[in-house]
Amino acid sequence: MAGRAQIPQKNSALVAMIADEDTIVGFLLAGVGNVDLRRKTNYLIVDSKTTVKQIEDAFKEFTAREDIAVIMISQYVANMIRFLVDSYNKAIPAILEIPSKDHPYDPTHDSILSRVKYLFSAESVASGRR
């Protein structure tokens, strides 16, 4: 957890989104949409035409940007780039897997919960108590 030591303080940070159209439109109506001077948005609409490469690139871009504090990603989209999401361990931007219209939230796929799952295994509890 090397990435958890340093946390920059930010006065105004953005919420980024990688999700289906309806979820993005809803959150844009809630005012989280941002377009910067280079015409870069803080969201990616995922539909049937979106490739895994595009999702990967957007995820890498959002995690590298310093003005983003939270990345919301639909869980079914996160499943497409699971290797990337699971290997991410920085505190900021925080990743949150959210449900989508056609895919309800499944805690067993959540990267955060699978990271802390270790504490619930019988072996770890036994070794910790010894």
Binding site: M1, R4, A5, Q6, I7, P8, Q9, K10, N11, S12, A13, L14, V15, E21, D22, T23, I24, V25, G26, F27, L28, L29, A30, G31, V32, G33, N34, V35, D36, L37, R39, T41, N42, I45, A69, V70, M72, A91, I92, A94, L96, I98, P99, K101, P104, Y105, P107, I112, L113, R115, V116, L119, S124, S127, G128
Partner: protein, 229 residues
């Protein structure tokens, strides 16, 4: 009273007594470890509970958006109409850092709703100065004229004025985000906003609880590594 004093006396003698048991340090260490495990489990319970709540809120939002699409037509509410002109986010986050202990830092996220970063400073300062002016006038009127009731009324009206100003700004920002789908939009589309705003508030709560959970997890892991070593 006597009983209370007696209890206090017992408490003081217990706290002042030097540790005689050599295993006390070990027991305290275990208690701290248990506390971290409890904090971790509490956070996880909160995380899963809030996720359920988020799912319900989002379902409501999607339903309202589908109603809006039905009443306005799918061509008037879709992703192709999104505003791609340069504009700042009206709702953003503030990140601060909580010191849990000397080594671990925990980020804390706060939601700033409907404060466009372009006019954030000016608008908030404007509102504050107006409120101050109104408070000054109400205070200056008070000793000349009447009793405390009028001052109370003056202060209330000043606060109302400031609240009105903020409400006005919020409604302007809301209208701005709705304007990408046209100037006259269906009330059903307006109803989508509160649902997704609530979802956003829940998301910020979840992210904070997630940060607390990961922090507790790190501490539990450190504790178990320390006890092994």
């Amino acid at each position: 009273m006597e009983a209370q004093e007696g209890k206090q006396g017992v408490f003081e003698t217990e706290t002042e007594r030097p540790p005689t048991n050599p295993l006390q340090g070990v027991i305290e260490g275990e208690e701290v470890g248990d506390e971290n495990v409890l904090r971790f489990l509490d956070s996880m319970d909160g995380y899963l509970g809030l996720m359920d709540s988020l799912s319900a809120t989002l379902r409501q939002g999607w339903f309202e958006l589908a109603s809006a699409k039905y009443s306005m037509g799918a061509l008037r509410v879709n992703g192709a109409l999104l505003d791609l002109k340069v504009h700042p986010a009206a709702t953003s986050l503030t990140v601060t850092q909580d010191d849990v202990d000397s080594e671990l830092k925990q980020p804390h996220f706060t939601l700033c709703k409907w404060v466009s970063s372009g006019n954030e400073k000016s608008s908030s300062q404007e509102v504050k100065s107006k409120e101050d002016d109104l408070l000054k006038t109400s205070d200056s009127q008070q000793p000349q004229n009447h009793g405390s009731s009028q001052m109370f009324e003056g202060k209330t009206s000043a606060r109302d004025g400031a609240t009105f100003e903020v409400d006005n700004q919020v409604s302007k920002e809301r209208a701005k985000s709705l304007s990408m789908f046209g100037t006259l939009v269906s009330p059903k589309l307006r109803a989508v906003q509160p649902s997704f705003e609530t979802a956003l508030e829940t998301i910020v709560e979840i992210v904070n609880i997630q940060s607390s959970m990961l922090n507790a997890y790190d501490q539990v892991q450190r504790g178990s590594k320390g006890s092994k070593g």
